[in-house]
Amino acid sequence: MRIFLKSIHIALKVNLAYPRDYLISLVIYPFILILNIHLFTSIYAYSEVSHIKGYSLSQMIWYYGATTFVWIFIFNFTDRRISNYILTGELGLRLLRPVSLFQYEMANAIALRIVGILFEFIPGMVIYSLIYSPNFLTIASLLKFFAVVALAFVLNYVLNFIIGVTAFITQNNAGFKRLMGAVTTLLGGAMIPLDFFPGWLQTVCDYLPFKYLFYEPVRFFINHGDISTAEAFYRVIFIDIAWIAALYIIAKIAWKLMLKNVVVAGG
């Protein structure tokens, strides 16, 4: 645990070296929000409705803002970093460290997100709220969002770790990473709320972990009517934990299998 905490501390120092990179989000966010305001105002006005698929105009505009916030909480480079270790031969060095690669990368991801929350989420939330007031937001919905998005972070980390491990087979897994990125964002509900999908596709999404990365956290954030009960909240938490446990086992098995065949040049 001490080594793990130390790893987080070191990664925090590295990530804090270039705070300007994070602060640029403050310039980016208004553009995203303004685009969504115009887009959905036009759609809602032209359709002459106050709600579409259970989303009010402000909830729909904020849906995409909240998706950006979810990215801030869950994003990490683990897949790319593992692929780079293999491509550059750095993997040998990493394997000699007194902390496992899983823990080391987890520490790095945690540090990265701490900086992201400080420099992107908090100011971003203020800027968004000033431009378009989140009239649906309550303390309870925000707290539920934090709980669900924390689990989404772990889930995304384990998924990325598994994708990173595929680089043992392909060396350069950029194409696969892109595919997974597209599947995750589409079937996770980051591109469009899953309620818009045809019934059969919604059923497919129910059996995949991706909706717990975006769709569910975002719905808690925008305080969607369907998830207002405590039962709905605990159900999401339970499924989240189940997915994390299942994927963790897969990650461990994949790592052990791949490590047996690894050859580090010069190592």
Binding site: Y18, R20, D21, I24, S25, V27, I28, F31, I32, L35, H38, L39, S42, I43, Y44, Y46, S47, E48, V49, I52, K53, T170, Q171, N172, N173, A174, G175, F176, R178, L179, A182, L186, M191, I192, F196, F197
Partner: protein, 264 residues
């Protein structure tokens, strides 16, 4: 003229290098093309979902927006194919201090940077764009008149010129600020406004997108040309592209003058 010919030769050389380097990881490249086609299909799919659950955008039917999406994908593919690598190249060069080498070459520095832009991965979006455009053509029964093709070619050339201008602005910022990797994201978010028909925006924003930052020339006007409902705004947009390009060159030389080499 000699300079342009030289730069074109250099571009072809970079193109060959790009293809060779993509072929080293052939499996990844082929996967990348399929992924690119799949990813490109998401945009039209999302629009389809919006149009089936709402009335869509004013003045646009589902098939018309399909044509818009097809041309948008075609444009994305083309711009990535032509200049997709420039951002990475300039960022990498400035970070590593290699940018100074470009200043010694017998060609304009900005030309050299633009010549390094070829990125084969853009072909995936092009394929997806052609597929969606052909499908939309089939469903819309578009009629092509005498002016359609020349106007489309002019719009395409001006669109490329505008994208070059935006890339030059990007390069200018990178050589000044050195270590801001997310500048790219900022540019992408601004150009995202071009991903939707201009008429959904309020008047002030519409004027900006037609005259001052004429993103409308990339997809909106080509679609309007094909749908035979062009307005005089296109002439402002075409002139705007040339104006923005001129401005970008001015800004580039200004930034280059202030560039302080190693260590920023």
């Amino acid at each position: 003229m000699q300079t342009v010919a030289g730069l074109l030769r250099l571009y072809v050389y970079h193109m060959k290098m790009g293809i060779s380097s993509a072929m080293i990881y052939r499996a990844d490249f082929i996967t990348g093309i399929f992924v690119s086609i799949f990813v490109s299909g998401i945009g039209p799919f999302v629009q389809f979902l919006y149009f089936t659950h709402t009335r869509g955008y004013p003045e646009w039917t589902l098939n018309q927006i399909l044509l818009f999406q097809g041309l948008l994908l075609l444009w994305f593919g083309l711009r990535d194919l032509l200049f997709g690598q420039v951002r990475n190249t300039v960022m990498d060069m400035v970070w590593k201090g290699d940018f100074d080498r470009l200043l010694l070459k017998p060609y304009p520095t900005v030309g050299l940077l633009l010549c390094s832009g070829f990125q084969l991965h853009g072909i995936g979006s092009c394929i997806a764009g052609v597929l969606v455009t052909v499908l939309a053509f089939h469903r819309l029964d578009v009629s092509i008149n005498l002016w359609t093709v020349p106007l489309l070619i002019v719009a395409l050339i001006c669109g490329v010129v505008l994208f070059m201008a935006i890339t030059i602005f990007y390069c200018s910022i990178v050589i000044m600020l050195i270590q801001i990797s997310r500048i790219s994201e900022l540019f992408d978010r601004i150009t995202d406004f071009a991903n939707y028909p201009v008429n959904i925006y309020p008047l002030a924003l519409r004027v900006v997108m037609i005259v001052f930052l004429p993103f409308a020339v990339w997809t909106y006007y080509p679609t309007q040309i094909l749908l035979d409902r062009l307005d005089y705004g296109i002439w402002f947009a075409l002139a705007g592209c040339v104006g923005v390009f001129y401005l970008s060159i001015k800004v580039w030389y200004l930034c280059l003058k202030m560039y302080t080499s190693a260590g920023g």
